[in-house]
């Protein structure tokens, strides 16, 4: 279909093309997705269809018609809406303030209403795409099996994405006015990380509650809650879930709500811009803070200077911190396991601590070693590269080691042998992870933190192998500490194998190290 130049459809095609370039641009800078990537997506989608078939076949039409299903469906939709909102905030900042093409579009003869309509549609699509991909197979298989009401999933996803896109765009307009575009984007990224972490912690706390209280007691508690009129399956609270399951009225209600929000948001966005929001956002950034007395803290050694500089740079980057802290969130359930009384430390603790510390170190080393902001400054200085390198490694390994120092000490006090073995594995995992990044890391931009694995496959592969080897060794050594006899012999053999694999991967990384300069 050919759209007339300047029409809304034409503009929408331009928007989609820009989104495709953004998603498909690869390391070589080509704007085309590789065949391998396309194949992976197709295989994944096919597998999702197979999985959906297995689930729907097992549940049958009656299972899906169960009124209780509205509860998990609503909860899932709320969780998805949280992610959609953070995506909407991020994409709204880019679409309205950072892509830099709005001035061009608004100065053209195109109607400003159609410009903002298309821009908001773009935000809706970016929020909905992943979930349409994930849950589309359920709809398709449902339709094939005659469960036509499952088409409600499409309606619910698109309506939720629309509502969240509208909320995201209006929030962005308000936040940009107060904080400026850059800080709003950072806030959106932090919110996204926090949303993910909260969902993980909630799911873990529920599973821990079930374990602690016992399955029967947990089921009884849930049943008691369901008896409350607010939370009963027919409560209005679960209407979104009923829309997901294809109940016509809630489905129509959601669709109408989405359309109304869309129309309202386009009008408001247009008004905000006409009243000079961009200028207001710009002037908010330009306000200078009052100056105090100049205070310097020159350090005695180059080593200290570099370490302090690296920690300062990370501490002042909320987005990076949120990304790093996200990894630490996964440590929380593990800490509960460690600190639980009357139990000897299990092998999962050894493996878990090694895995977490190793991956945390890899992240920090990538930021500190690979993503140096001013490599030319360091290279054009007379400072010894060896000392700078050592300081950077120290800056990368110290935070993870400090973080696990107390839990490790606790373990050593409770079970000295297992604690010491875990300590050894953690230190080795941390040092190896940092060295691998030092040897194989490539110069990169901090903003590429999330996609670092894609940019340097070799380094990521070595990081993964190394992490798994030390994690495996942690598991085996703790198991070994509790075993005796023949079983201990075979575990020791496996532990030796894991240690050898870790050392071989380190050696291979050293042999393949990048020559600097």
């Amino acid at each position: 279909m050919k759209a007339a130049p300047g029409s809304s459809l034409w503009l929408l095609r331009h928007e989609l093309r820009m989104a495709w370039y953004g998603a498909a641009v690869n390391a070589g800078g080509r704007r085309r997705m590789g065949w391998a990537s396309i194949a992976v997506w197709v295989v994944a989608w096919t597998l999702l269809h197979v999985g959906a078939f297995a689930v729907l076949h097992k549940m049958g039409a009656e299972g899906m018609a169960n009124p209780f299903m509205a509860i998990p469906a609503t909860l899932a939709l709320v969780a998805i809406a949280t992610f959609m909102l953070s995506t909407a905030l991020r994409t709204s900042v880019v679409a309205l303030f950072e892509r830099g093409d709005l001035d061009l579009l608004l100065s053209s003869p195109l109607s400003s209403r159609s410009i903002f309509t298309v821009r908001l549609l773009g935000v809706v699509m970016s929020g909905a795409a992943l979930y349409l991909f994930l849950f589309g197979p359920v709809v398709h298989v449902g339709l094939a099996l005659g469960q036509f009401r499952l088409a409600g999933i499409y309606v619910a996803i698109v309506a939720t994405a629309t509502l969240m896109a509208c909320l995201g765009m209006l929030l962005t307009l308000a936040l940009v006015r107060v904080l400026g575009a850059r800080r709003t984007r950072v806030l959106a990224q932090v919110l996204s990380a926090v949303a993910g972490a909260l969902l993980f912690l909630l799911s873990q706390s529920f599973s821990m509650f079930s374990q602690t209280a016992g399955a029967d007691s947990a089921a009884r508690s849930v049943q008691r809650l369901m008896q409350s009129p607010w939370l009963a399956p027919d409560s209005a609270l679960w209407l979104p879930g009923r829309a997901v399951l294809g109940d016509p009225l809630p489905m129509l209600g959601m669709a109408a709500l989405g359309l109304a929000a869309f129309a309202l948001t386009v009008g408001r966005t247009h008004r905000f811009f006409v009243h000079g929001l961009q200028e207001a956002a710009g002037s908010a950034r330009a306000i200078a803070r009052p100056a105090g007395a100049l205070a310097f803290r020159f350090r005695r050694s180059l080593f200290d200077t570099v370490v302090v500089k690296e920690w300062r740079l990370i501490a002042r980057d909320p987005h990076l911190i949120s990304q790093i802290l996200l990894q630490l969130v996964y440590l929380v359930p593990l800490l509960f396991l460690i600190l639980r009384k009357n139990d000897a430390p299990g092998p999962a603790i050894g493996a878990g601590l090694a895995l977490l510390c190793s991956s945390l170190t890899s992240s920090l080393a990538w930021i500190i070693v690979s993503a140096e902001d001013a490599p030319d400054l360091l290279q054009s200085s007379p400072a010894a590269g060896r000392i700078i390198g050592l300081a950077k490694l120290a800056a990368s390994v110290m935070p993870p080691l400090l973080l696990v120092a107390l839990p490790l000490l606790w373990l050593v006090v409770r079970a000295p042998l297992a604690g010491l073995l875990i300590g050894f594995v953690v230190v080795a995992a941390v040092l190896s992870a940092a060295m691998i990044v030092r040897w194989l890391g490539r110069p990169a931009q901090r903003s590429d933190f999330k996609t670092r694995g894609k940019e340097n496959f070799l380094c990521s592969m070595f990081e993964a192998v190394n992490t798994l080897c030390w994690g495996g060794l942690g598991w085996l050594l703790v198991t070994l500490a509790a075993e005796s006899g023949t079983a201990a012999g075979s575990t020791a053999l496996m532990a030796a194998g894991a240690l050898a694999a870790a050392l071989v991967s380190l050696l291979a990384a050293w042999l393949m190290r990048r020559r600097r300069h």
């Binding site: 100056a291 310097f296 180059l302 200290d304 200077t305 500089k309 902001d373 030319d376 200085s381 007379p382």
Partner: protein
């Protein structure tokens, strides 16, 4: 006794990225001189400066900074010079005071020497009132001035600047130009590249013109005019680069 060792001596300097980027440049810059290196885009100016500052290893040839061979003793050579590229080497998440602390640490300047210099530079470049802000919020001119402060904190004898005036407003550009003139007046040496030919015409004692990796002409403005039909530096530059 006056030391007549050149501030910078290049001998047959070569670098190729597939095709030659710098093709056997011989150059000598005297102490206490402001030398402008001019050339069209892609002529090899930045590549030359990056080799001089040790950021790029030459394929062949020799770089001597104030009598020290860069290849033999890079630390000693780097200690005497400072480099300011067109994109300032800053950390957005550091404040100006912290940036200067870091640069002083890299050059191994003692705190008792570094602190008064840092205060003076921040005051002189009107950055003191922004000393508690992160540099990521700075304008292009403020960033350039802070990078200059970083370059000057170790009091280099040789200052190398790549397009130092790009994107600066009139006031900031004037401040940078004054700073360069003052550095030369104190006996320092400045080598700069610029596309703003009026700057070279007004400030430079000698001018070198590079085209396709070769130094095609060198001398004072008067000497260059003699080689061509005369006129402004712009006329001379265009005649020389089109002739070659």
């Amino acid at each position: 006794m006056i030391d007549d060792t050149p501030a910078l001596q290049l001998r047959s300097l070569r670098k190729a990225f597939g095709r030659p980027a710098v093709d056997g440049i011989d150059l000598s810059v005297r102490r206490g001189e402001l030398y402008a290196l001019l050339g069209p885009n892609g002529a090899g100016k930045t590549t030359t400066l990056r080799m001089v500052t040790g950021l790029l290893a030459p394929d062949s040839g020799q770089v001597e900074v104030l009598g020290t061979d860069l290849a033999l003793d890079p630390a000693a050579a780097k200690r005497k010079m400072a480099y300011l590229p067109d994109d300032p080497m800053l950390y957005g998440k550091l404040k100006p005071t912290e940036y200067l602390e870091f640069v002083a640490g890299l050059w191994g300047i003692a705190a008792e020497d570094a602190e008064p210099r840092a205060r003076h530079l921040l005051d002189w470049l009107d950055l003191s009132k922004h000393a508690h802000e992160l540099t990521e919020g700075f304008s292009r001119g403020m960033k350039q001035k802070l990078a200059l402060a970083g370059a000057l904190i170790h009091e280099p004898e040789l200052l190398i600047l790549d397009e130092p005036l790009t994107g600066l407003d009139a006031a900031a550009a004037r401040q940078v130009k004054d700073l360069l003139v003052s550095h030369v007046a104190k006996g320092g040496t400045v080598i700069l590249t610029t596309h703003i030919l009026e700057v070279a015409e007004r400030l430079a004692q000698r001018i070198g013109i590079i085209r396709q990796g070769r130094l095609i002409a060198e001398g004072t403005l008067a000497e260059l005019r003699e080689r061509t039909l005369g006129g402004s530096l712009e006329d001379v530059f265009l005649q020389l680069t089109e002739q070659a």
